[in-house]
Structures are given as structure tokens and as C-alpha cells.
Symmetry: C2
Subunit: 259 residues, 2 copies
């Protein structure tokens, strides 16, 4: 099932269930506490897709695919060093934008790149989950683009502007509750051309490993998200470029760049 957050003609946003005929069946309440269907039905083409929700805590795996780790080592001039354990990091909600909204290249940014990522959406409060139990707290999955400015990433003490500048975190277009990660492939297109392609499951530490380890020390809450990292390398992006992150079984997240 696909949950979508949308608005019509600049009105307030609402949630709905997207069917296979691209119709949205509006539902009262939120994704995390859904109510009854309102009876309203919209065509997907007639609505503005909104950010699915503002996460409570925005977790990110960071370095979690081997090829990307090698490229990060090149960037920083450090020896290749794979993380030895699943230590989760953070991103910030100010940076979120929806499908089809613009990624704004900030003044001074010179090396902006994409990172296509699988996003795990937490639906239930959870602590002390085993790996076998880990997925029991997951509501669904969506797509993220962990846009990054590589020179700031190398020069700054934190990721505050390299990864969390306003508009640097496209997320969406919707949340899919049924997803087979073992079959999934991530494909990133730049201006229509396939640029990056990898098996989504080829993570160094998988979703179960992260959730189990995290919940030994922290409580996950409905509305938390975990971005699972990316593989491969992005070219330098410029104003006018269109980036599409597709994950098979989930959909396609598209955003364009402006100055």
C-alpha cells in the first residue's frame, strides 16, 4: 500500500492511499494514526506531492556501501576504512523537500552531488529488538536523496551545511508498506541518463543490524526515519540538472537544481 501526503490548490496537506490507477483516496488522520477514508478521491496528476512527514529523529547510516566508502576516502585523502560497526548518524529536518521541489545550490557551494538512498520509516515505538524482531517496528519505505557539498564535507567539523543546507534532503514521493529489499535496485538518472546503479541490498550493515543495534541504547518512535546510505559516485551537479532516484518497487523521486 502506498501512503501519500498531498495538497490541492495550495490548501492544507492531507494523507491518502494511492491506488494502482493513480487515484488518491483521502484518509483522515496521519500515516501513523490513520482514521477513516474521507470519501474524497483525487487524481495524482492534480495534486502537489508534499514531504511525507517531518521526522521526529532523522537517522542516517552514512558510509554503508563499499564503493562509496572508497570514494569518500579519496575525497578526504584518508586511507580506506570501512566502518567496523553499525554506528548511526543524523541529518536535519530543515533540509527536507518534496518530490519535484527544487534543490537550491547555496552561495559558495561548488561541488554538489546526489546520493540515492533507501529510507526506512518507523511506525512503532521500539526498544531492545533482536535482529529477528527488528523489522516489526517498520511501517514502510521511501526514497531519499542525501544531497552533499563535498568540499564543505571535507572542510567542516560537522555536516551542518555539507548535508543539511536547506533543500538538501529530498524525500518521497510516498511511503510503500510492501517492499522486497532483496529484489530492489537503486538507479539514479541525471537528465534522463542512468548514472548510478546498485543492488539496494548490498549494504555493509543491513536494516535489521542497524535497528537491533540502535534499539539497545535508544528508543525508536513513530515518525523516525533511517536513511540507509548510498553506493557509487555522483558527478558534480549544476543548476538546471534533474536528478531522479528510482528504487524498484518504491517509485521515483525527482528533483531539479537551481541557484
Amino acid at each position: 500500500m502506498r501512503w501519500i501526503n498531498f495538497s490541492v490548490d495550495g490548501g492544507p496537506s492531507a494523507y491518502g492511499i494511492l491506488d494502482t490507477d493513480d487515484r488518491i483516496h483521502e484518509v483522515h488522520g496521519t500515516i501513523f494514526e490513520p482514521g477513516e477514508r474521507s470519501g474524497a478521491v483525487h487524481r495524482l496528476a492534480d495534486v502537489k506531492i508534499e514531504v511525507p512527514f517531518i521526522p521526529r529523529t532523522f537517522y542516517a547510516a552514512g558510509l554503508n556501501y563499499v564503493k562509496h566508502i572508497r570514494e569518500y576516502a579519496e575525497l578526504t585523502g584518508q586511507p580506506v576504512s570501512e566502518p567496523k560497526q553499525a554506528d548511526i548518524g543524523y541529518r536535519a529536518v530543515n533540509a527536507l523537500i518534496a518530490h519535484d521541489e527544487a534543490i537550491v545550490i547555496p552561495p559558495g557551494a561548488t561541488q554538489v552531488e546526489y546520493e540515492g538512498e533507501l529510507v526506512v520509516v518507523i511506525g512503532k515505538k521500539a526498544k531492545h529488538l533482536s535482529e529477528a524482531e527488528a523489522l516489526s517496528c517498520v511501517l514502510g519505505y521511501t526514497i531519499g536523496n542525501d544531497v552533499s557539498e563535498r568540499l564543505w564535507q571535507a572542510s567542516d567539523r560537522t555536516f551542518w551545511r555539507s548535508k543539511n543546507a536547506d533543500t538538501f534532503k529530498p524525500m518521497g514521493p510516498w511511503i510503500e508498506t510492501e517492499f522486497n529489499i532483496d529484489a530492489a535496485e537503486t538507479t539514479v538518472r541525471l537528465n534522463g541518463n542512468v548514472q548510478t546503479h546498485f543492488r539496494t541490498a548490498d549494504m555493509l550493515f543491513d536494516i535489521r543490524t542497524f535497528i537491533s543495534r540502535m534499539t539497545q541504547c535508544l528508543t525508536l518512535f513513530p515518525g523516525d526515519v533511517i536513511w540507509m546510505g548510498t553506493d557509487g559516485k555522483s558527478p558534480k551537479l549544476k543548476a538546471g540538472d534533474v536528478v531522479e532516484v528510482e528504487i524498484s518497487g518504491l517509485g521515483r523521486l525527482r528533483n531539479h537544481l537551481v541557484n
Copy 2:
């Protein structure tokens, strides 16, 4: 004026204004969108103090006082390196607890320490503020204890458990809207004895510097908080210890430790 979030007899939390006679005048709405006074008045001694609010984004300056930077260098075995610019970091809301709630030492934690910090509460949406304008978005100030497990801090790739384990972020007891940082002193007591004392204003980068720099790349929102860092060194804490972080003009945040 002091804003307090409180509950009575396990009921729902409410906001109120704390007067100088320790009476709470209940107010409808939230700190960020206050309504009328409800007419209800409670004695401070009769209520449970709650976490002031769940921040939207939980910013933290990290290394921002010189003595503490030297001690951090000792911990990690690195040369002393003062941050060259005000790069803000992040903490996580799962870890928040209120005044008088227990800091739980997680299994495996062996070197738990306190960090008494000034907390800036953002009240208005803000972007592109100059240093002169920076404080215009500030609603008030409170106190934080950035509890840290030093061995995990040194060993892990991120701060996910060293600083964000559940209960590691006491915040409160209330929000003070009138505060003179230049006169303020931070005093940390362990089991009633003064252990750490510093001028709160002795930051490497001050509040105006951080807010102005941050808002060049990101939007601050009502409900964001910025923890401003700490000075000095904490002894190793153990179950049964009571830590009190006092900032003159703000109040005193007290928490005890349990296993």
C-alpha cells in the same frame, strides 16, 4: 518570564507561567503559540516538571570552551585543535528527560560524565540573520546536561550512543525569556559539592556567531534548540550520584543516576 511544562497527578501536560512565589499560572496553547490563561493556578511543589518541549531540530555546538577542548584532546589522544569556525552539530530527542528524572547508565557504559550547558530556545522562523539581528529569533533560555559516555565517544564513528542513549539529555527545568548571558555563571554540583564552575559567556563562538552562521545555509524554526557547549571536566559518574547544573539567572537542573 519563566515558561514551564508540567503535569499534575499523571494527567496530560500543560504550559504555565511560573511566578516568583513558585506559583504556576496555567496557559492554553504552547510556549510557541500561547493562548489565554486558563485561570488554574498550581504550586510548583505540587506538579511534575516535564521536558519543556520536544525540539524540532536539536543543535549542539559541541567543543566551544577552551579548557574542555584541551580535555577532549587528551581523551582522544589527538593534538589540541580548537574549531576554526562555528560548525554546529546535532543531538537526538529520544535522549531528553526532565528535571528530577533519572539518567540511566546503559549496560556496557563505564565512563559516564556530565556537561552543563546553556540552551538557546528558538521562537521564530529565521534565515540570513546578521550577528546584530541574531538574537531576534530567540524565545528564551534553559539548561541542558549533555551526558556523555567517553569511551564510546572515542571509539564510535558517531555520537549515537555516547551522547544520545536514552535519558542522556536532561533539559529544563523551565524556559526563561529574560537572561543576561554576560553576567551568567555555570556551576555544576555533584552530590551537593561544587565540581565545575565557569563563566557562561566564555565561549569560543558566541550565540550570535552561531545563529548568524547557521542561518546563512539553514532555516531555524520555532522549537529548535541550540546547546552551547560546556567547559571544564566531569568526574566519572555512578549510580546514586546527583548532578545539579545551575546557571545564574536561569535556575537549577537536577538529575540522579541509576543503573
